[in-house]
Amino acid sequence: MDSRKMKDGILQGLIYFSTAFTVLVLVVILGFVLYKGLPGINLNFLTRMWDSKTTFVKVVKEESVDNNTKDGYISSLGITIDLDEKNKVYITEIESESPVKEAVNLKNDSYPIKKGDIITKADTTIFENITIEEAATALENGNETMKLKVVRPGGGIIPMLVSTIYIILLSLLISAPIGILAAIYLNEYAKAGRLLNIIRFAIQNLAGIPSIIYGLFGMLVFVQMLQMQYSILAGALTLSIILLPTIISTTEEALKAIPATYRQSSLGLGATKLQTNYKVVLPNALPGILVAIILSIGRIVGESAALLLTAGTVAQIPTAFTGNEAAAATLTTKLYWLIKESGDLSGASSIAIVLLVLIIVLNIISKTITKHFLAKQGNK
């Protein structure tokens, strides 16, 4: 009896230890990411471009009426300037009527100056090791049409956020219809047999292939052979193959949950199979399909290896589908790049926080839908 108690005790201890370990690991990971990354999260991080951008702009000054003598206020431009910690002159405030809002760049395209922009040169005066008074005088006394060299500071994740969203939309646009129709075929049309076995075998295999292999394939076929270069389209095409198994199996589960009587009633009323699928099966499977899509978004947000080889690591907002303008770093690839190329663990952790928030939100949404869906089905 005693040895049995001891054995039970040891095993129970191991069970508790394992569970505690699992939970603890998650706590440590979250704690580490928050500790390292939270100081780097601020409005600038979330709203700015990644690279700082230097532009020459022309501003037509206005006759000043306001005689505000506040430190660093320039009435003819309607702005207030200050020095930042690196002694650079930056704009702290812009009046609503300020002429800098009508500023144009050298190609005469509109380039409104924004709060936070750094001025490094006004006409011929270079703003280096300068006091606020000197800078204000130079700005106030400059030419009627003043030429300013403006640096818009970077350090934000907007390009990666936008690229991630583009890639999500593109890949879903490709794989959601294919995956959903495939699931309908498998559940509603296919007859047991060799073809069905082959398709199922292929889907199971796709689910097991690691993303680096998809990356190799995408790089060879989309990036090189189809000459898309590192681009969002190459990345999205690769990802849409990765997503197929998830979308197909989740949709199929939703289809299987629809009672056979629904279909029979519809068919019995004289509807064709297509009409039944379109008007009865699909609407009832909608919550499940939604879950499939949300799971896919989660997968895309977290994907990195395949995108590293197909979409590149350039932090820019893509303006094309293929080619140089379409290269895009997503949040994950940038996170990797930050650690590997610049050893910036804090910056990487800040991105990690953004990623985690996205993943948690997606988890909650899919949970809510599933719960709602199940409750509804239970009532029927």
């Binding site: 394992s18 394939f217 029979q264 068919l267 690839t333």
Partner: protein, 314 residues
């Protein structure tokens, strides 16, 4: 159930055929076309698998064929990777990948199974509601974040106890992979434990076994096939993991690891590290590395499919 549905379906069809006096040609054709489109979508998976295999193997086998070919033996048994001098040996990478996977399985599988036991059999309902989302989150964390965690926490810790000057090592990789496969193992094991009929437990308890004995001698053996497929899936995850591993493995240019503190260079990180700038034979050799990885994965996949199909037949 399935059969029943088919019978009723067929009946519905025949009923309709009788009602429909004149066959509606156009409608039939449209239906046929739509069905074909659905079929094509379903075939997309098959085509993708074939295309992936064809292209990766074609590119990966090129360097070993034709004139001026590289010896396949030297490739598979070599212990040095030096693209600059045209030396491509991946044996030490295979060893690294296999060691890392075995290590992760040794730690991850027992911890995962025991955690699943706790969730499915022991934990009070309220606690399950906290632990389950935690595990879901663990499963959803992108692998680059595991990599950052490895770089920021595991590698410095390993560095403290390691006789080597660096913390990047087989041990660090094993630690991170263990954590990464946990959610897979836990979820699958939990599902298969839950599928064990209640009567098993009642019978065991009724015979005088303790709760712990019941779990380990009645429930877990009955959940065997689920646990087995969880393990195989875990192997697949571990061997295919790229980003997290690449950041903490050290990735030396040669040498079979002889201690857990040695750096390793898994097959996956070899590919992703150099693919960005490789060209010509170097690039083909990276594809060849992909082929070797692919073969490992195929073996894992097919084993998994066999296990699940067998379990499904029961």
């Amino acid at each position: 159930m399935e059969n029943n549905k088919n019978v009723i379906d067929k009946q519905a069809h025949t009923d309709m055929a009788e009602v429909r006096m004149k066959p509606n040609r156009v409608r039939d054709i449209v239906e046929k076309i739509i069905e074909t489109i659905f079929l094509l979508c379903a075939m997309a998976s098959v085509i993708s698998v074939i295309a992936i295999i064809a292209f990766v193997f074609w590119k990966g086998l090129t360097p070993f064929l034709g004139d001026n070919s590289y010896s396949f033996g030297a490739f598979i048994t070599g212990t040095k990777w030096d693209p600059g001098n045209d030396i491509f040996g991946i044996f030490y990478m295979i060893v690294g990948s296999v060691f890392a996977t075995i290590g992760a399985i040794i730690f991850g599988v027992p911890i995962g199974i025991l955690t699943a036991v706790y969730i499915a059999e022991i934990a009070p309902k309220g606690l399950v509601k906290t632990i389950k989302p935690a595990i879901e989150l663990l499963a959803g964390i992108p692998s680059v974040i595991y990599g950052a965690f490895g770089v920021g926490v595991i590698v410095p810790l390993v560095n403290k106890i390691s006789p080597r000057p660096q913390g990047e090592s087989l041990l660090a990789v094993i630690c991170v992979l263990t954590v990464m496969i946990l959610p897979t193992i836990i979820n699958l094991t939990e599902a298969s434990i839950k599928a064990v009929p209640k009567s098993y437990r009642e019978a065991s308890l009724g015979l005088g076994a303790s709760k712990t004995q019941t779990i380990f001698q009645a429930v877990l053996p009955a959940a065997k096939s689920g646990i087995l497929s969880a393990t195989v899936l875990g192997i697949g995850r571990a061997i295919g993991e790229t980003m997290a591993v690449m950041m903490i493995a050290g990735n030396p240019i040669g040498g079979i690891p002889s201690s857990i503190f040695d750096k390793i260079r898994p097959l996956t990180s070899n590919i992703s590290m150099e693919m960005g700038y490789a060209s010509g034979r170097h690039q083909e050799m990276l594809f060849a590395t992909g082929v070797v990885l692919f073969i490992f994965i195929m073996v894992v996949n097919i084993t998994l499919i066999k296990i699940t199909n067998k379990a499904g037949e029961k």
